[in-house]
Symmetry: C2
Subunit: 622 residues, 2 copies
Amino acid sequence: MPYVRFLPADVCVEAPAGTLLHEAAILAGIHDLELPCGGQGTCGQCLLELVPAGRLAMACQTRVWADAVVRVPENHDVALRVVGDSHFLVSEELLPERSKLSPLCRVERLTVPPASIEEHYSDWNRLVRELVRSNAGLPVSAPLAVLRDLAAALREQQGKVTVTILESGSALDVVEVRPGHGGGRALGLAVDLGTTTVAAQLVDLEDGRVLATRTTYNLQIRRGADIISRIDYARTRERQKELRGMALETINSLIEEMCRETGTGGREIRAAFLAGNTTMIHLLLALPPRHIREAPYVPTVNPVPALSAREAGLDIHPQAVVECAPGVGSYVGGDITAGLLSTDLPTNHENVFLFLDIGTNGEIVIGNADWMVGCACSAGPAFEGAGIKCGMRAADGAIEHLEIGADGETIRYQVIGGGKPAGICGSGLICLLGELFRRGVIDRSGRFHEEPGAGRIVPCENRRAFVVEYGARTAGGQDLLITEADLESLIRTKAAIYAACSLVIENVGLKWDAISRVYIAGGFGRHIQIADAVMIGMLPDLPHRLFSYLGNSALTGAYIALLSREHRRRLVDIASRMTYVDLSSDPRYMDNYVKALFLPHTDLEQCPSVARMLRNGRRNGS
Amino acid sequence: MPYVRFLPADVCVEAPAGTLLHEAAILAGIHDLELPCGGQGTCGQCLLELVPAGRLAMACQTRVWADAVVRVPENHDVALRVVGDSHFLVSEELLPERSKLSPLCRVERLTVPPASIEEHYSDWNRLVRELVRSNAGLPVSAPLAVLRDLAAALREQQGKVTVTILESGSALDVVEVRPGHGGGRALGLAVDLGTTTVAAQLVDLEDGRVLATRTTYNLQIRRGADIISRIDYARTRERQKELRGMALETINSLIEEMCRETGTGGREIRAAFLAGNTTMIHLLLALPPRHIREAPYVPTVNPVPALSAREAGLDIHPQAVVECAPGVGSYVGGDITAGLLSTDLPTNHENVFLFLDIGTNGEIVIGNADWMVGCACSAGPAFEGAGIKCGMRAADGAIEHLEIGADGETIRYQVIGGGKPAGICGSGLICLLGELFRRGVIDRSGRFHEEPGAGRIVPCENRRAFVVEYGARTAGGQDLLITEADLESLIRTKAAIYAACSLVIENVGLKWDAISRVYIAGGFGRHIQIADAVMIGMLPDLPHRLFSYLGNSALTGAYIALLSREHRRRLVDIASRMTYVDLSSDPRYMDNYVKALFLPHTDLEQCPSVARMLRNGRRNGS
């Protein structure tokens, strides 16, 4: 078998003839070779240098037929920069009242009366009878290990016991009965498993308190930047296992960090609720995702049956129950149904709402308690900070808001956590694009004018870039740049979102003015400037008071569902009532998209207030 | 630590000082030392000879403090004689119609239509939709392993799949999906787990055919002949494990024999339904049984939640579902509810029925579809052939029926399977007792008269015995003897049953003539002679046409429940509607028992037809 030697790590590996260079790298323990296109050979991100020839070769396309030496370029970690802690918001108002909590795992302190000759119910039956207040008619069972200790536990402290109960599927499972009323608590985990970003919360299930929140990038990014690339990559059983391992490593690292931060142990976590799009859930569980992207676009399973943590692979109590939010179809997943939980869309019969979740995929739902239509578009990860030179997650060090003066050069910004900026998160990028356009630094196609702002424009990779902050004042010591390529990427993202919104409105036979509220969700940051999002033509030109920014609504929904059975039932209801519309098969989508590739839009009548402002701006000469 | 040497096996073992001789024997691998009294030191059956002193010591009471040599007496296997195959009946009439079978495990051949753009249900949803005919609204789930192969299986042969489904608790679990419509069958196991006798059937779950039936003695007999002794023995966690191991060894040996006989593999068995009394089920699962015999007499669990075969410990498919028939209380268990399934008592509103299940415990139920009262009495294992010198199970070689001529010496008998007799089973013992009494060989207290039958009376262990068959004509070459001690044991057994029946009738405020049918169940044999059972005063003196003999009704019930969801639900219903009456706390029980210790009864008015016959018999001088 040929030998491949990888530089600069200088690792040697024997690989069967015909092995892809990328697979040989994995064999050699080199896991950070990214395949943003999923190994399709289209993105060129996995280029390796063949030594000594100096030729470049794509690791995902080049096979090893003889001994070879290759050099892995450095700086393969652009998308994975992680700075400090995150700042997702969960609205305290959405917390169910403590007395009404019905989490996936409960710890109850009961006093079980002894049996008598007249009422000789079994130990188990007497225990279940005391649980009746909270079991809501669900069947209750227990493993043999619990039953074997039950008689002793009930008799040790005159019937006083502390009972841990899991709700799994539509049944309850008593997993622990300890004598006495001391100690015993159960923690829960809420997870938003995104294509680019994964966020998790550690929750005290007794009172609903959030003990810790963490986010990180999904390690699967190395095998594809978006859903389609990752599905393409996951062709074989082995690669499905590899991607499952990456998703688990991502989530488990968040769990470990949160446990360390709070001084708790993973085994205290007895329940997890996951919200993720259909593909991410399939990849997490190593279910083959192929048919999600092949007509007629069906997933293997939806919703996913309740699992144990052992089956799911999470580093929490092995018997913990793991539930996933139900999705609607291949491209409207459990992240959307969970997100809708945090709004009044599913319960309000009066008005029509628009719900946008903008991540790597953009998902759009229109409707109310009586009808719902959902669709999806591929937005790309730009607003999550991935694929943008200065982009980063909404974490400490991220510029989340900025303003540019009329001169196009004075810049004021706000950094999450204070201190020097390390990058710009989604909300900051929307501000930046809006301000650059508002101030005339860029034109309607996103290219730099000669003036204003010329003082900050520098050459970059044969094109031009705008310096947001100079290296002397950044955390990394390098200039924070936004390049023309970045601007194009942001415009493509906003165009995809706007095109999808306008098509779905058209499809249900409504006009923009029928919408009484617009909910915006996504991992942009703590808040986005609606004015900027409307200015760049990402959001429809409606009165700003109609917009609400939800933050990471999928995480919020997962958190609520973890704590409340009523909301878990509502989730199932949302998924079953929503109609899915496939935009990709509608030829009007591409028309809408192309028209939206300008700032704010080719057709200025779509954006009357922006058009008015542009005219005023020009009149004012600024 | 002291050494103990066991003869004649000549095994040496090191045991911690203070170890019971009986425990040391187990350490030495000697497992056939029986403790019929459960180690209470009351029965003297575990006597060992201390060598060279020649003194005897009870293994269950004597502790090892220094090196010792002990001799285990031979012939410790009286109760475990097993001859040939068994002959329990299962009435074919009780079989649910094949088209209506809803067994605990089904194999279904389905054709799942492909998805379309309009109906883009997930693979799993389309499969579940096809199952809907048979899933009766129960939730359906599947393990990840099945889901991972689902997409491929559905597409390999245009949607044709063979699906294996388990019903566990009140949910369905798809455990296998194979492409195509070939092969695939599921076998089931019905088990009657009795205190003395264990019976099992191997069933084809597709058509309900019984492929094999086997019975054997419960190996736990070595640690106690009856329920109370076994509960006493099972004081420690370790002994609970030991008894669980013995029950499993018993059932698993039956499974192995049936699989060998039918050329099948244990892994083909995907479901088991067990009927057993509450104590036997506790001991099988190593649940502590102590509180069953301590006031207020409550078991740990009843009914037992559905288990996997792995949890239960059965040598069948590890994911097979194992259900136990629900019991009513500590002394009326799942064997009784299962037995009632094979009668029309739980569905008939018109008449009042009496149901007797006579095993080591005798259980009695009176009632109909509207009300049921159940109670239990300790009958002893005599009618199962245990504890009687010539007793044996109803298996090949057992005398199941006999007649004695007017001379008290001419004997005609019928042997199960033909050939030479090896012993006498329960039905034969009832015949024998009846005939000995009818012919005047024994008096009303069960002692031998001088005449008739004197020719067959021989001395035996300082008392007397009656030779049922001489050694020259028996399978073992030894005389088949019934001793005075055996007769006393049989009379105590019949007295316990009669006393319980008469008390429960009294308790519900009825007289014997209110009973319109008497069902008799138990492992006596293929049929019992009602005339003899009435003659000895075991059964009430009612017209013989009112009696029906059910054979092993617990096994029949387990078999029906294995195959039919409707009957499984009816079982739960029976258990919940029955009122349990505790006879042991009623002082009238002992009165009734003492009065019944004569043949047929102290008070001949209780048995008018027998009294008439006795008078007639005396008049006829026979």
